[in-house]
């Protein structure tokens, strides 16, 4: 280990950098060095030392940066790359907190409880800033190589065409002007190298979305409403590069911040992006769901043509149907349902018995512990009941008359379960 050399007040770092894009502020900052806050001075100092290869710390940082830039193939995935960078930053922070290489020592300028925050900022500056374009290019390469870039672009296009309601949105969505504003914020966000600053901007976007929702209703929203809305907004922005942006923030953000507000909304963005990425599959699942309904239909037709008559036990003329209302919960009634009464007919009975205003928005569901399946109008509830009863180990099940979630066909929790029922 190199002995900590007291570095000279070098300007070389600042002389090299102006050739790259530099803000005016940065150019004059040296002049006003003495007016800077202790935090800024310390971050600047650390950034300077990080470029001085005569220091152990400078070697560590510069060698790592060149290593990453020259060895593109050393990571198996974008997440792998980001995680090793995060690890490196944390290790360097630990080293700096203990080493005597910094002059003046960090403790002399910064109160103890703020040291970590300052070191974190310094890491962003001396490691992420020079690596930003390399990281972005690598992330994109990984995306393209895996085919996920193309898939994301296609899915975004599909998702963008959907109306808010189709994505499960139940509040007022931002108009095109607001979407443009949000896009603009995202573009600004992309230019930043600090994950924390990116997160701050992202939170502003979330705030803006909430404001639109709230202004139109006056109420407060939880995740039930926010997540679909965020998905809609991300789809409308149609920026596939946001996927790697989110990955960048999630993996590089100081881990202690991941439990906080930033972590929560990043998680939601990650979730919304995954929904969009799998949009086609989700649609396929919906299609599958209607296919399974057809199967059910055919199966019943087969049963009908074969005239297999179920036993009396399984085939009483009574059927208990629960009525589920969004605001007032469940009530159940036992109804007389003939063996060959269709779901459509039963729905009419239910609409009458439960005094439903708009029967067309309700449907009959078969719900078991694992699945929730909307029944097609031409199926026979009593036969379905009989079929379940005739299984070796019948599972508990319920017929529920309710509004379909999102006014769409309900998807079983997962395909496998959905299919096993049928």
């Amino acid at each position: 280990m190199a002995p900590p050399i007291k570095p000279k007040k070098k300007r070389s770092g600042s002389f090299v950098l102006p050739r790259i894009v530099k803000t005016q502020f940065r150019k004059v900052s040296g002049v006003f060095n003495s007016f800077m806050t202790p935090e800024k001075r310390m971050v600047k100092r650390i950034a300077e030392v990080s470029q001085d290869k005569r220091t152990y710390f400078g070697c560590l940082v510069q060698d790592y940066i060149s290593f990453l830039q020259e060895n593109k193939g050393c990571h198996v995935s974008g997440a792998d790359m980001l995680q090793t960078i995060r690890q490196f930053m944390t290790q360097v922070k630990n080293y700096l907190a203990q080493s005597s290489e910094l002059d003046p020592p960090i403790e002399s300028l910064i109160p103890e409880e703020e040291i970590d925050v300052v070191l974190e900022k310094a890491m962003h500056k001396c490691i992420l800033k020079p690596l930003k374009s390399h990281i972005e290019a690598s992330l994109k390469d990984f995306q393209i190589a895996s085919g996920s870039w193309k898939q994301l672009k296609e899915n975004l296009l599909l998702a963008k065409q959907k109306k808010p309601q189709e994505l499960g949105v139940d509040a007022t969505a931002p108009d095109s002007v607001t979407i443009e504003k949000i896009r603009h914020k995202f573009v600004t966000m992309q230019k930043m190298y600090s994950p924390e600053k990116k997160v701050t901007l992202f939170l502003r976007v979330c705030k803006l979305i909430y404001t639109v929702m709230e202004n139109n209703s006056g109420r407060m929203y939880g995740a039930d409403d926010f997540l679909p809305m965020l998905t809609y907004v991300l789809a409308q922005c149609d920026m596939p590069e946001l996927d790697t942006e989110i990955e960048y923030m999630m993996e590089l953000l100081d881990p202690s911040l991941l439990h906080g507000e930033g972590g929560y909304y990043l998680t939601s963005a990650y979730g919304a992006m995954s929904l969009i990425k799998n949009f086609q599959e989700e649609q396929a699942a919906r299609l599958l769901s209607s296919e399974t309904r057809n199967t059910l239909h055919q199966w019943h037709r087969r049963r009908t043509t074969n005239r297999t008559i179920p036993t009396v036990d399984d085939f009483q003329n009574y059927l208990r149907v629960a009525f589920q209302e969004v605001n007032s919960g469940c009530t159940a009634k036992t109804l007389v349902v003939k063996p060959y009464a269709t779901t459509e007919e039963l729905c009419e009975v239910c609409a009458d018995k439960f005094k439903v205003q708009d029967p067309s928005t309700y449907a009959l569901f078969l719900i078991t512990e694992e699945t929730s399946q909307q029944l097609a109008p031409d199926t026979y509830p009593q036969k379905i009941k009989a079929e379940i009863h005739s299984r070796p180990q019948p599972l508990p099940f319920h017929f529920v008359y309710k509004r379909p979630t999102n006014l769409q066909i309900c998807i079983p929790p997962d395909e496998e379960n959905g299919n096993t029922f049928l």
């Binding site: 499960g168 979730g271 929904l275 589920q324 009530t331 999102n406």
Partner: protein, 221 residues
Amino acid sequence: MAAGGSGGGNKTYSFKVVLLGEGCVGKTSLVLRYCENKFNDKHITTLQASFLTKKLNIGGKRVNLAIWDTAGQERFHALGPIYYRDSNGAILVYDITDEDSFQKVKNWVKELRKMLGNEICLCIVGNKVDLEKERHVSVQEAEGYAESVGAKHYHTSAKLNKGIEELFLDLCKRMIETAQADERAKGNGSSQSGTARRGVQIVDDEPQNAATAGGGCCSSV
């Protein structure tokens, strides 16, 4: 390091609690009630209910709670793991008038136990007890089920502000116990790294942290 047994007077526990349950069971109202509509002004997205924090003082121990709401609709079910990972506690809410929502809670319990084991403190919450007349999930069944899976059962009404304070207070006490047991098991020296991995962070207290939750929360353990 915060020694679990020594009272830990000047340390703060940070816990993450995830809120799960079908849409419309009242998750949002529940947590809004609990946080008394008082929001942390440090947060950019204040005045909303998806992510909330609360500071408490329980028997001299300071607790920072971060409450993560999740979307309850079926189409978001697959996103569960990204929300509940690293949680110290989970609040599983159902609507007592809706048997369906109770089934959904059972599914979550199964999944959480499978993915996170017994490390996570589970609370099963029957909300809307103000609609007792329309109850469709029997108290006996719900409580029996909770016991069978090592969870605690609570009855709440967000509308009447009933049972909510107790629910969170109780959960916090259990999470502290779990964290302390964890610290003891790992030994004081390594407790920080050990617990940090599980998501509990013990951080130095800030002097202005004195703001605590009202009434019930200050009662001694």
